[in-house]
Amino acid sequence: MRWIWIDKFLEFKSGESAVALKNISLAEEHLHDHFPGFPTMPECLMIEAMAQTAGILVGEARNFEEKVVLAKIKKAAFYHFVRPGDTITLHAKIDSIAPEAASTTGEIMRGDERIAQISLMFSHIDNNLSGKQFPEENFVFTDMFNSLLTGFVEDKTASEPSE
């Protein structure tokens, strides 16, 4: 994960569900063009925020051993605009997880108001592309996002503890 699009986790139940939070700021430059005079968070970036929330949930479920890649947007329905100054929460749940892939459902909320429903499929690419070879290091889960999980799960990406 080379960039982070969520601010923090509020809840993290390993292998089950997670809730992340994101604040939307007018300092985000794309909002100046989307749209001039009427800044709203682009829907594709809501999907990205959910993909990060659910993707980390799926990755953690297998100790970050898999390269978890967004493979399919099963559903994305949007009900309200998200504006600068808003705080949204991203609620993700693992529906199914297998050696090759995982499927998640999720909702984006602003307080009690439902903003979007987003269901995704993730591929564990080492197990799922007809034996195609990928670099050994896990380029999906770099150290950068570790801080997000601090306090929620043990640091599972750290090297073996010394005796």
């Binding site: 199914s96 499927s103 499929m121």
Partner: protein
């Protein structure tokens, strides 16, 4: 409680409509998943997950879609054509699939046509029986 074939078919149809974003009338028993319904590889996993939930069954992917393992084995494929051994393996691994047509021209390019709605219904019927 055993489900009738029609009930299984209707449920499978729902799964495919949801997984592949189809209209009601696009799905027929003879439809091929890839050719007719436009399924891609990740969709097969989506379908497997949805079948598991819809019918409360376990679906090992290699059981429903075992062709991959066959295709990757040089003993079973030669020059893009399935060998006798390969065909025997398919028959063994895909009892839920009608191979009559395929056997006339067992080119690996035709293998996609084996994944039909009927084949899934047969498979699920075997699981819920």
């Amino acid at each position: 409680m055993a489900m009738s074939r029609d009930e299984v078919y209707e449920e499978v149809k729902e799964v495919l409509i949801d997984a592949l974003g189809l209209d009601d009338d696009e799905v027929t028993p003879k439809s091929t998943l890839m050719g007719d319904l436009g399924a891609e590889s990740i969709d097969f996993l989506d379908i497997v997950f949805r079948l598991e939930k819809a019918f409360d069954i376990k679906v090992p992917r290699e059981e429903l879609f075992p062709a991959e393992a066959v295709l990757n084995n040089p003993e079973f494929v030669s020059g893009g054509i399935l060998t006798e051994k390969g065909l025997a393996e398919l028959r063994d691994k895909m009892p839920h699939t009608d191979l009559t047509e395929f056997e006339k021209d067992p080119n690996v390019n035709n293998i996609a046509d084996l994944f039909t709605v009927d084949a899934i219904v047969n498979f699920v019927e075997g699981k819920v029986a």
